[in-house]
Symmetry: C2
Subunit: 269 residues, 2 copies
């Protein structure tokens, strides 16, 4: 125990595991609680791209980087270190609770290999997710009811994704789509667009936010008719408007997209 350091004393001898989100990547959007967790950590675990955004780290901190596809292994490793009494941080991008590491941590805890994992002081620190960062750049497309879906069919069948897209389209919800495409599965976003074009107007605003908050960020405003599935990759979040979502162009040439707070009685019928 280190009583001289206000954040460093775990409440039990089993150590502490904090699961943090970096937010979109811009340090001015990183929660102070997440920054404090990073400063106070003895061990920092994460996908190496996120660790590069989270660092630099001190010489007395141990950094454990890994590939992006081993989430459950990372969570187990974190519990092992924390159960041995260490202060451990798992780094996610965005919000750890939205398509990120908090879920894998819960899975590891439920299947705990070692009963001492139950005594770890586990804390999840929320963050700003990619769709929120992209929305803020462009106005307020998520200002009304919306649905957040991952298009990845690594862990769920495409039939479930297609059905959810169809029902969300029938409900006229704005869509925030994560993991729209990858090299291993280039077809999902194309199929999602084909489905949604059956429900929504050609001029429906579509926003593509790539790496928002990072040095190479790219934001594209397009329409449901014009968007091309080649424009997205795993780092892109896609926002597709509802029937009510509006594009406004200022006299200064700036474009904004928002979904009004009100909804007419007839539009969803």
């Amino acid at each position: 125990m280190h009583p001289e350091e206000p954040h460093s004393a775990p409440p039990n001898p089993q150590g502490r595991l904090q699961v943090i989100g970096l937010g979109p990547g811009d340090p001015t959007l990183l929660a102070p609680a997440a920054r404090a967790a990073l400063n106070d950590a003895e061990h920092i675990i994460g996908y190496r791209t996120y660790l590069q955004l989270a660092g630099p780290f001190r010489a007395d901190q141990q950094v454990h980087d890994s590939d992006n596809r081993v989430e459950l292994d990372r969570a187990r490793h974190a519990f092992q270190l924390a159960a041995a009494g260490h202060r451990v941080v798992i780094v996610s991008s965005g919000d750890p609770g939205i398509f990120a590491m908090a879920t894998a941590v819960m899975e590891a805890l439920e299947q705990a290999e070692d009963p001492t994992w139950n005594a770890v002081d586990l804390q999840i620190i929320p963050g700003i997710s990619a769709a929120q960062a992209a929305a803020a750049r462009i106005g307020a497309p998520l200002g009304h009811d919306f649905c957040t879906l991952s298009l990845s069919d690594n862990l769920k069948p495409w039939s479930v994704i297609a059905r959810r897209l169809q029902l969300a389209a029938e409900a006229d919800l704005v869509l925030a789509l994560y993991n729209p495409s990858s090299r291993a599965r280039p077809y999902q976003f194309r199929e999602a667009l084909a489905l949604l074009r059956g429900y929504r107007a050609a001029e429906t605003p579509v926003i593509l936010g790539k790496a928002i908050g990072r040095d190479d960020e790219q934001l594209i405003i397009t329409t449901l008719a014009e968007v091309d599935s080649q424009q997205v990759d795993m780092r892109t979040v896609v926002i597709i408007g509802s029937s009510q979502t509006r594009l406004i162009q200022t006299t200064e040439g700036r474009r904004w997209v928002y979904t009004p707070r009100w909804y007419p009685a007839t539009a969803a019928e």
Copy 2:
């Protein structure tokens, strides 16, 4: 212009309007960009409860508080001040882009009473929304596809809300429900529960997060069978699990709720 202050020089003579979110209320979850905007503002506008959380302010800052029901007036007032050359901040709770002030600001801009509003340097700074803060406290209930709905029928008919609830239930999406009830409309959450009980199992986890991140925060874990519509108010966010959402209890007596990353092929049929 004040070139000696790094954040203070607006890029044009029309002033600046920043729309910020306080996050859940805990200052350790407030984005540094939002804190900087507050520090640098000449005029700060918002619902008085949120201004109390955002303050204290300096004697040289002008604070304009208001009732919670005049969002469009607040947005117009902010544009007037910014168009006159001032540095203005509008304060929302949570994320300004999720059922908060960014949408009203967009509405005011689209209907601009004065063309000079178009030249205002408008910035929206995202924040951590209430559902994310509640989710982090309890595990990872939003770790899979989910739907974010407001149950308020102030600005949309109840028939639209009921239809969206039904379609989201058919899609087996986790639900994050904002504005579940108020004194003026106590029936919405009761009706939403009646509808959802037709689709989901009695033991489906339900989380009620009231004022999470504030001094009087309250977090309740219950089930779809047991939750009572009297337990919620306007400051409560409700998370209702999907068929896959799991409650786990550690050997230390701590309860967690999460929605796994995977989804079986048969569960949604």
